[in-house]
């Protein structure tokens, strides 16, 4: 108990801050901050097991998040029958060709010795394959994108409940991580960072521009929800009576019947969106807790000990007979899969998939700030980092506005400096993140809750 005091204190302060937002701004805002904090926490856990456990830098978080989001679309949207009949065959055939191509290259790599000829043959297969695939897929893609382009214009998904996508998103992201890991994990730390950053940009470029699969920048909206809809809630009896019960003291003060009804309606509308957000919070909390239990178990298991040994001294671990390459690949896949879950959760919560919104600053660098500030190698720290940083990211604008008003109190309201500063309040969040990261890295390089390994 004693040694966990700082963890408990840090989390209670964080919760207190969110509750303060609920009291002073509104519960709606507080809950949406809380939900995104939970999603950020899942992302930081993914980044943390890569960086904190194994010392691998993954700057491709954005790509894995987007793949998770793509999974949400492909699972939950109803299939577009017309599009399938228009171009489904071509797409499937191209897919088959791609698999055949990969297998052929693999076969050659395995069965022939390294030589110039082999390289040329592989290059020839790939180039020829791409040309053939383009020839076959082009008419299919055109046909698919031609089907009702304003509404669909893509193949659609499987029409399953969106919750399944959380698992599928993990598999998507894990699969991509496997490929990237095979290619890039041999690189030195900062090269790996740059390579993953660029690969994630390629992923985003593909998601943005392959309209037949993702609708691209036209966005997919109105995804099915795992939670009830506000409009439906507002008409259900049990919900109305629930809201009535909660606000009985407030309602009893109003004697006029019509006025009472109007107040109740207002409360029901507010209550419904809070209720929906609470449903999401519950779902997300379950995921965070499951992941936390698993990662904690892993951290203290022999496997976790081995990972730390590899992180701290690769050569020594290798000499002890640990397969460093394999373990690196494994942890890279695991961490990315967790990020994929977060990506699917994010799209589930928003109910829409906007490929244009995936930007490295928000989905890669911000997550890294969270991990570093929270405490790498410590799961509680990583989660706390997700909470603190996201909270500040959202609340930076009000805080910035307050500070600007405070420092320029002596100036006239129309003074150009004051007007300019107030206009640039949204950018104070970058400043806050940057300064926060620099200060933490300088004075508390292990984060708010540093890694603590005790031998049990």
């Amino acid at each position: 108990m004693r040694k966990n005091l700082n963890v408990i204190a840090a989390y209670s302060i964080m919760m207190g801050l969110i509750i303060l937002v609920g009291i002073f701004q509104s519960w709606n805002i507080a809950l949406s901050i809380f939900n995104l904090c939970l999603i950020s926490a899942v992302m930081t856990m993914g980044a943390n097991i890569q960086w904190g456990y194994a010392g691998l830098i993954n700057f491709g978080i954005m790509g894995f998040t987007a793949l998770g989001g793509l999974a949400a679309v492909l699972i939950s949207v109803d299939p577009v029958q017309e599009a399938w009949s228009a171009g489904g065959f071509n797409i499937l055939f191209s897919l088959f060709l791609i698999i055949a191509m990969v297998l052929a290259v693999r076969y050659i790599l395995k069965n022939y010795k390294k030589s110039k000829n082999r390289t040329y043959i592989i290059a020839a297969i790939i180039i020829l394959g791409i040309v053939i695939i383009r020839f076959i897929s082009e008419p299919g893609i055109e046909a698919i994108e031609g089907v009702n382009p304003a509404k669909t214009g893509f193949l659609g998904g499987l029409g399953l409940p969106i919750i399944f996508s959380w698992v599928v998103g993990a598999f998507f992201a894990g699969g991509l991580a496997f490929v990237i890991g095979k290619v890039a994990l041999g690189l030195r730390a900062d090269y790996l960072a740059i390579a993953t950053l660029l690969i994630s940009e390629i992923v985003i470029a593909i998601i943005k521009h392959e309209d037949w699969l993702t609708r691209g920048v036209k966005n997919v909206i109105g995804l099915k929800r795992p939670a009830p809809y506000e409009v439906n809630l507002q008409q259900t009896d049990w919900f109305i009576s629930l809201v009535e019960k909660f606000n009985l003291s407030k309602l009893n003060l109003i004697t006029d019947l019509t006025e009472r009804q109007a107040t109740l309606n207002q409360l029901v509308i507010e209550g419904s969106s809070v209720f929906v957000k609470l449903c999401y919070s519950g779902l997300f909390l379950v995921v965070v807790i499951i992941l936390l239990i698993l990662t904690q178990k892993a951290l203290y298991s022999p496997w976790g000990r081995m990972m730390r040994a590899i992180r701290d001294n690769e050569e020594a671990a290798n000499a002890m007979g640990k397969n460093v390459v394999k373990q690196h690949l494994l942890i890279f896949v695991l961490g990315s899969a967790i990020v994929g879950i977060a990506g699917a959760m994010l799209v589930t919560q928003d109910g829409l998939f906007t490929p244009g919104s995936y930007r490295p600053l928000r989905y890669t660098f911000l997550i890294w700030v969270m991990v570093i500030i929270g405490g790498s190698g410590n799961n509680f720290g990583a989660i706390l980092g997700g909470f603190v940083v996201w909270f500040l990211w959202i609340e930076a604008a009000p805080i910035g506005l307050y500070l600007v008003n405070l420092t320029t109190a002596g100036l006239d309201d129309t003074h150009f400096l004051k007007v300019h500063l107030i206009e640039s309040v949204p950018y104070f969040r970058f400043l806050m993140m940057g300064v926060g990261l620099l200060v933490i890295m300088r004075y508390r390089p292990k984060g708010i809750l540093p890694e603590k390994i005790e031998i049990k």
Partner: protein, 336 residues
Amino acid sequence: MDFVNAIILLLNYIFVPALAYGSQLALGAIFVTLVYGILRFANFATGDMMSFGTMFVILFTFYFQSVGISFGVLPTALLAIPFGIIFMIGYMLIIDKLVFKYYRINKSPPVQLAMVSIGVMFVTQAVVRIIIGPSDRRFFDGEKFLIKAGEFKEMTGLNEGLAIKSTQVITIIVTLILVSTLFWFLNKTKTGKSMRAYSDNEDLALLSGIDPKKIVMITWVIAGILATIGGALYGLDKSFKPFTYFNNMLPIFAAAIVGGIGNPFGAFLGGYVIAFSEILLTYAYRKFFMYVLPESMEPDGLIQLLSTDYKFAVSFSILVIVLLYRPSGIFKGKVL
């Protein structure tokens, strides 16, 4: 005649734009490579540092325009660049003193420095947006075209026009002057040689009496010059927007690594490799083949290898291929 038309077509749409874009990337890539070679970290604040320098160039340009100073047919920004450079160098030296110095003296691993540079990235981004705002800004003035497409057609009687923007010519000339001065400096002067020695083997360099403080300072000064000029040229040719500058960091990194990180000459050529491959692979060759091939063989499609949407993806794929097959870059940089 058709053949000449085809050549002009390629010159107009591929060669000239790629040369200008490549020069802009090359300056950034040399900046990345110098910081990597001498200060030993991957600087993720590259794009934002370039936008910081460009911001001061723009502010001075606006000031000059408001007091009525102009540079004739050339853009006023060229006059403002030296002032921008002074501010930029000041900013970089302050950042180094406040942030990077501590980690350098403690001999922190490069990864930690890279993380710190992310902090610098956030701060720089905030400062730029607070001072000049996030919107798109054009600060070009003076003569826009050196050769206009229409005039060229009249002059030569060809079907295809060749348009050369003055910014493109300025970019290429300034880059050539700057880069040749830099290589002269690195290869011929004593300070330049000591910089290379320091980059090659730090301990040995210290033993032979090279002052690390001086080396670091000169590196930041050169980096400031490169970043400001590179950023300003890009802004003149296209436009200034903080977000695009941040994104430009990615092809710049690709150029530096493709050329062999730590090797300035490799970075210089890497910039052109990236620019040319981006444009060559995404250009639609239909018109070119219409000129070259006989009428019966005219193509129906666009003959485009990749759609222009994948411009960035091309350079990144090249990077991945280079990393796989020749991890030290085309021109032998530091071994990984």
